[in-house]
Symmetry: C2
């Protein structure tokens, strides 16, 4: 059987357990963000979550699994809220591109998920599984959408036909770069995310735009 009529009452204990799992995930994100994976102490995660160290090991088998579990717990819910994959033919490629980039800016760059981005970059090479998970579940999905939009735009004449490789990467590069910048150099030179987003779109859409067929 399944969801339907069985889990029913999440019985005090199960509620507490779930709450504690969330607290641990939040604490893990906070601590890992602050000092990186290697320097993070399980004791600190435990303290931040308001439990003892042993408890952490009731929920996660190891430090590595805590890290991976945290990333998954933080990213998966967001993926389900991403703008739909279906192509609405009434919507221009330009509008769809705006919509997707906006989603990324607000839901990732302007939230604590931005920290995860940096952690993946930092620790990815040491966590092949995690990098692959992130690539397969987060990046490649996003890429597929952006690619589809660019394709649509080229086909319907909104965008010029740029044949070069790496077009999609170039289109979203501005978003990745500003995410990194804010994590590392923002205190030396703050960037206003909204203004940057406007410039990003402006620059990219003009770069993509097909020349007016006016002559």
């Amino acid at each position: 059987m399944s969801e339907v009529a069985e889990v029913a009452s999440p019985s005090r204990r199960e509620q507490q357990k779930e709450a504690k799992r969330l607290a641990l995930v939040d604490a893990a994100l906070a601590v890992f963000s602050r000092v990186g994976f290697a320097a993070a102490k399980i004791d600190d995660v435990a303290e931040e979550a308001g439990v003892s160290k042993g408890t952490v090991y009731l929920y996660f088998d190891s430090k590595e699994q805590l890290f991976e579990g945290m990333v998954k717990a933080k990213m998966l819910p967001m993926l389900n809220n991403a703008p739909g994959l279906v192509i609405d033919p009434d919507q221009s490629a330009t509008d769809r591109l705006k919509q997707h980039l906006r989603f990324f800016y607000t839901k990732v760059l302007d939230s604590d998920r931005r920290q995860i981005m940096r952690l993946i970059m930092s620790e990815g090479p040491n966590f092949p599984d995690l990098a692959e998970f992130y690539y397969a579940n987060v990046l490649s999905r996003g890429q597929a959408m952006i690619n589809a939009i660019i394709q649509q735009g080229i086909e319907n004449g909104e965008f010029r036909n740029m044949s070069g490789h790496g077009l999609m990467h170039n289109v979203v590069a501005g978003a990745l770069a500003v995410g990194m910048w804010k994590q590392v150099f923002d205190r030396f030179q703050p960037i206003d995310l909204d203004a940057y987003y406007d410039t990003h779109l402006d620059l990219i859409l003009n770069g993509l735009r097909a020349p007016d067929p006016q002559d």
Copy 2:
């Protein structure tokens, strides 16, 4: 004998010492790149440099200073070779932009300095001094040049007048992003750096280009 006949012979010892310092810096870059700062063992750096652990401490006071010293030693020589800051009025802004980006792609992205880029992103928050050094000596210099070029382009009519903030960051974002990508996800989805560079320039220059004054 030496160039001017003064300090004269770098005396066998000094030569060896300098050679060893270089070996240590190279070894440090290799090891830190491989596993990150925290997981790097001084013993491994020593072994890779062909010396014993104690020797490392004759050249650097601590693991932190080894790291910072390595970054500085690797970046400083390059800075002196960057394209000149003087504005050649005979050169279009477009050409100058191409020249500078090309320099970055070949001298940073396509060399072991790319590793340093990732290390700065990963460890920067834990090494405020280092992040500041990198910002002050590498980034802000590059930014100043790109900004000057954009300004020139706007003034002489090559580029349209985009008022938005973060324009410069957006212009170079593609380069930062691909550097990160190659470090972390290239094994899942390789990017050809030359093709990507062509697309980057194409997209950006079209995005910047002032509309033809043809009407």
